[in-house]
Symmetry: none
Subunit: 293 residues, 2 copies
């Protein structure tokens, strides 16, 4: 067809990017939604699209008009065309709304830099994980007859929270060590040799977290550690260690790669006892929806 005719037909995404700085607040919401679910969001009716974004129908039309279309159906036709072209040649899949040209806007650079830095971290981190190590950690959690304890430091406690919510749907006896560290001793009371401690500790390794891990180790608990490449002191007591890159060249360390690693572990645990997990989730949903109707 018309392969030579490139500049003549910019994609809708490009047209949006081009006019991005002239958009109003509401129009930006529409732009975000469309680019976020591209191009399906734009194939809905005006009313539906508007309601989803919490704006009115005319705003949608002004938006379509502003980014250079005569009418809303006109925009839809173009979106359809792009979609069709993409579906017909699954090989040129890269013709996704290709990463916008963020250059120019300082925040565009930030977005790009953060994305690439994190991606590099993920590739390096997960690429260097020993599959067997992962396998063992999965079995340790999946087959553990005792309790699984979750613990994290100041910033990594979010990961512990995240792991807690997931593990809880997959198995019983999951406990989160939280609150003031002075009270952690109470949790320690119950820790024994049948238990597993999943602990998160990255640099500025927190002394209270280390102390808890050491105590748990001395009580014969098995420890799985998520840490950074420089290894928390807890690595000495840990049965399985997952070192993850945390640097992105910014002010703060990143937990993104750790989260991917965690999600991988969680997925593995889920796949380890699929039927047990499924039954548990089903039971849970039954309890959530009490027999009222």
């Amino acid at each position: 067809m018309d392969v030579t005719q490139q500049a003549a037909k910019p994609t809708v995404a490009e047209q949006i990017t081009q006019k991005a700085d002239t958009l109003t607040t509401s129009e930006r919401k529409l732009a975000q939604a469309l680019l976020g679910n591209y191009p399906m969001a734009g194939l809905e009716t005006v009313a539906t699209f508007a309601e989803r974004c919490g704006v009115s129908a005319p705003t949608v039309l002004r938006f379509a008009s502003k980014i250079g279309f005569d009418s809303y159906p006109d925009m839809q036709a173009r979106l359809r065309g792009e979609l069709e072209a993409r579906l017909q040649s699954p090989l040129t899949r890269s013709s996704l709304p290709r990463a916008r040209n963020h250059s120019g806007h300082p925040m565009g650079e930030l977005l790009h830099d953060m994305a690439e830095a994190t991606i590099a971290n993920i590739r390096t981190s997960l690429g260097n994980i020993n599959p067997a190590e992962l396998q063992n950690a999965i079995e340790l959690i999946g087959d553990c007859k005792g309790s699984v304890y979750l613990l994290g430091g100041r910033f990594t406690s979010a990961l512990a929270v995240y792991a807690y919510e997931h593990l809880r749907t997959m198995r019983s006896h999951v406990r989160r060590v939280s609150g003031q560290s002075a009270k952690w001793a109470e949790d320690l009371l119950d820790v024994g040799k049948r238990d597993v401690l999943l602990v998160f500790d990255v640099r500025r390794y927190q002394s209270d977290v280390i102390a808890f891990a050491e105590a748990a180790y001395k009580q014969d608990a098995k420890i799985i550690l998520f840490t950074d490449q420089w290894l928390s002191p807890i690595a000495q007591f840990a049965r399985h260690v997952f070192p993850v890159r945390i640097e992105t060249g910014t002010t703060w360390d990143s937990s993104a790669a750790s989260m991917v690693m965690l999600e991988t572990l969680l997925e593995g645990v889920g796949q380890h006892n699929p039927e047990q997990v499924r039954a548990r989730i089903k039971h849970l949903e039954m309890l959530r929806r009490p027999p009222q109707s």
Copy 2:
């Protein structure tokens, strides 16, 4: 949602094949056209589809009815669903067994797949964020004279926790809405027009989270929303919406891309008032190390 979702809905294509031998001549033309340009052909209007196949509109409707749909829009909805599903996972489907040190070991594949799926999510998500939108959200948080409230759902509360710990080091008046949702009303009491609500809500949009956001909105708080590409209903009240991909082709949705987006926002807030943040951190470290030495 609907509980009627029993044994995996058949695709429209399958429904056509199933009824293929009962179709009339004209209807067969429609079937061929639809299967030949699947599913785009079926997303056009009745009139267009009919004309393209050289039949009349009613024939199209009888066709839709015969293959088991209540109405033509009903069929379109299903086609859209299929299309959307297909578009969302172009990566997990086509991810060829890349040569890696992981090859062979099943966990190696899991590591690779999770990494690549997450990376694709990050690229797509951050690539589609409007820099200006990010800028505005940063300024909203950075210059906010009131309080910043953090709220998340079941799994996303971990992100709220994470954001809380970071924001707290950067500015005062950061509050996390946590605990039983029945008690959230107490937090609502204080929410006003000078305040900002940073809320996380992905699919299976939690009704209590939505309710809080709506209430906060009605009390003139400004809302920044982290959600998925299908947009939480909170998008209607939100001043800034950040849609992020959450699918990795696994059992659970992923928060990894959301975390990268969040870290980007946090970094931006930090860079917005660097000296204020630095002073605050310094102050904080002084307080942590009491004047004992």
